[in-house]
């Protein structure tokens, strides 16, 4: 039972990390039709932004250093994403092949740049001691970082849901996911919403980068690329453009991966997720959002 509890909570925690990356990816595709292969770069920029600022704040104690550095990582990730939309994506609207090439290139270039400047080795990150300890739930010693991931992902989900439901830009984004041309035909400059969605998605990915630094205890230039694969799987399973579908799919993928790694064989978790993707696509070609959106 304790193993089950441990796997469940850590699986949901892993799913929470996936959700932070996948939510922006899903909104960007839903609104703009852009398959953003550079989304992992936003995570990397956020993670290294956090690590860099933290390494420059040696005089502060751990908690304020961690908080300030984390905030810096989010800002850097969000601004980077907005600039990518403005200068690389905007000139290529409706040119999907070029968009794919540019975003793939940017993803590779970002990793290459970070590696060139700081090297290929993962960089250790300092964070409050509480996050490296575990709390006991039903006899299971669950790492505290899993709770943090879950709480943060729930806050992000709630914030995005409220934003989409109650703000004018949220309304524009929801309408734009359905019919972008008609939003424009109502006199709305949908390009502003595009930049905003990129900035939101970039900030969420940067948040995943910051929390990934804690979860894996290091900032790694290749983490964005490896997590992006799972984020894409989550988005496809959840249904492109559906936030609720993405949230549900994130948890399912995290749990399947965690349980398969433990009960089958370490490393089979990744394969199980791919099998899950195949099964979902066979049963519901448009993902889970048909039932959850």
């Amino acid at each position: 039972m304790t193993t089950f509890v441990l796997l469940t909570i850590t699986g949901v925690g892993l799913g929470a990390l996936y959700f932070l990356i996948a939510s922006g990816l899903s909104l960007i595709y839903g609104l703009m039709g852009v398959l953003n292969f550079a989304h992992g770069a936003f995570l990397t920029v956020g993670a290294f932004g956090m690590w860099f600022v933290e390494s420059k704040l040696g005089g502060l104690s751990v908690l304020p250093r961690f908080l300030v550095a984390s905030l810096a990582g989010l800002v850097v990730g969000g601004v980077f994403a907005a600039l990518v939309e403005l200068f690389l994506i905007r000139p290529l609207y409706r040119r999907h092949i070029e968009q794919v090439l540019v975003t793939v290139g940017l993803g590779l270039a970002t990793v290459a740049l970070v590696t060139a400047v700081w090297g290929n080795d993962a960089r250790p990150v300092a964070y409050p001691g509480w996050l490296s300890r575990a709390s006991t739930v039903a006899g299971a010693h669950v790492p505290n970082v899993s709770y943090l991931l879950i709480v943060v992902a729930l806050l992000v989900l709630a914030s995005l849901t409220l934003f989409l439901k109650y703000t004018r830009y949220g309304l524009i984004i929801r309408a734009g996911v359905e019919n972008r041309a008609m939003v424009t035909a109502l006199g709305i400059d949908v390009r502003k919403a595009f930049t905003l969605v990129f900035a939101i998605g970039g900030t969420a990915a940067a948040l995943a980068g910051v929390l990934g630094n804690v979860y894996f205890t290091t900032a790694d230039p290749n983490r964005g690329t490896s997590l992006l694969i799972f984020a894409f799987i989550v988005v496809v399973i959840g249904g492109l453009g559906s936030l609720r579908g993405t949230a549900v799919a994130s948890v399912v993928v995290g749990l399947v991966q965690q349980f398969a790694n433990y009960y089958a064989s370490s490393g089979l978790g990744d394969l199980s997720v791919v099998l899950l993707l195949g099964l979902v696509l066979l049963a519901r070609p448009r993902g889970l959002s048909g039932s959850f959106a």
Binding site: R168, L171, I172, R174, A175, V177, E178, N179, A181, M182, V183, T184, A185, L186, G187, I188, D189, V190, A293
Partner: protein, 232 residues
């Protein structure tokens, strides 16, 4: 000077030369009907005026050029649009569909709810769950919320039951007292009731311009140009 002047307007959709240099004017006030058989380019003309398809030529609203202007700015210059097939946002409520369309500081909800009282009762209902007629009300209401110099309305009676067609015609008649309307419509009964002028397209070219009543009174011309028999 006409309110809307279209000159040498060309549109290519893929390999197809859909609009081949069409020219016509829309005079201020009343309804100008844009007529023609299926597939002659009526909807494409409205989409070109809105900047929703790439086009070449000149479109001037009150003498100011619209070509090269992005769609959202064309709308803000006073061009309202009711698309074919309504294009309401199915996942948004009626109220949200209307809120999204608000441009003016004082949107005309009184007018909209006077014309379509049902929309007020169904404000919280998802637009995707409305009937075709109700969705058409939402589509027209969105355009009427703001003051427009000209309203482009694309086949508003398409697929509607006869009773609803009459209701939509009533609304168009009332709307035409408030603003200029360029109307694409296949139902010649509706055209006869509301239209002052008519422009007829055939295979991407303008083949007739004149008073609508005159055109509709000439059964041979109606049959030749529109391919239908019209019971006047």
């Amino acid at each position: 000077m006409s309110l809307l002047a279209v000159r040498d307007l060309h549109v290519y959709l893929g390999e197809s030369h859909v609009l081949q240099g069409i020219e016509f004017d829309v005079a201020e006030g009343g309804v100008t009907a844009l007529l023609g058989r299926n597939g002659v380019g009526k909807t494409t003309t409205l989409r070109a005026l809105m900047g929703l398809v790439d086009r070449r030529g000149s479109i001037a609203l009150e003498g100011r050029e619209l070509t090269g202007t992005p769609t959202h700015r064309i709308v803000r210059r006073g061009v309202g649009y009711v698309p074919e097939d309504r294009d309401v946002f199915a996942g948004l409520t009626v109220q949200e569909n209307l809120r999204l369309a608000e441009r003016d500081a004082d949107p005309r909800y009184d007018l909209v709810y006077d014309l379509f009282p049902e929309l007020k009762q169904r404000a919280r209902q998802l637009a995707g769950t409305l009937s075709g007629g109700q969705q058409q009300m939402v589509a027209i209401a969105r355009a009427l919320l703001n003051e427009n110099r000209v309203l482009l309305v694309d086949e508003p009676t398409k697929g509607l039951a006869p009773l609803l067609v009459t209701q939509v015609a009533d609304v168009l008649a009332r709307v035409s007292e408030l603003t200029t309307v360029l109307l694409v419509e296949q139902n010649l009964g509706v055209v006869q009731r509301v239209a002052r002028d008519a422009v007829v397209l055939d295979t991407g070219r303008v083949v007739h311009i004149g008073p609508a009543q005159e055109l509709l009174a000439d059964r041979a011309m109606v049959h030749r140009m529109l391919g239908v028999g019209h019971a006047a």
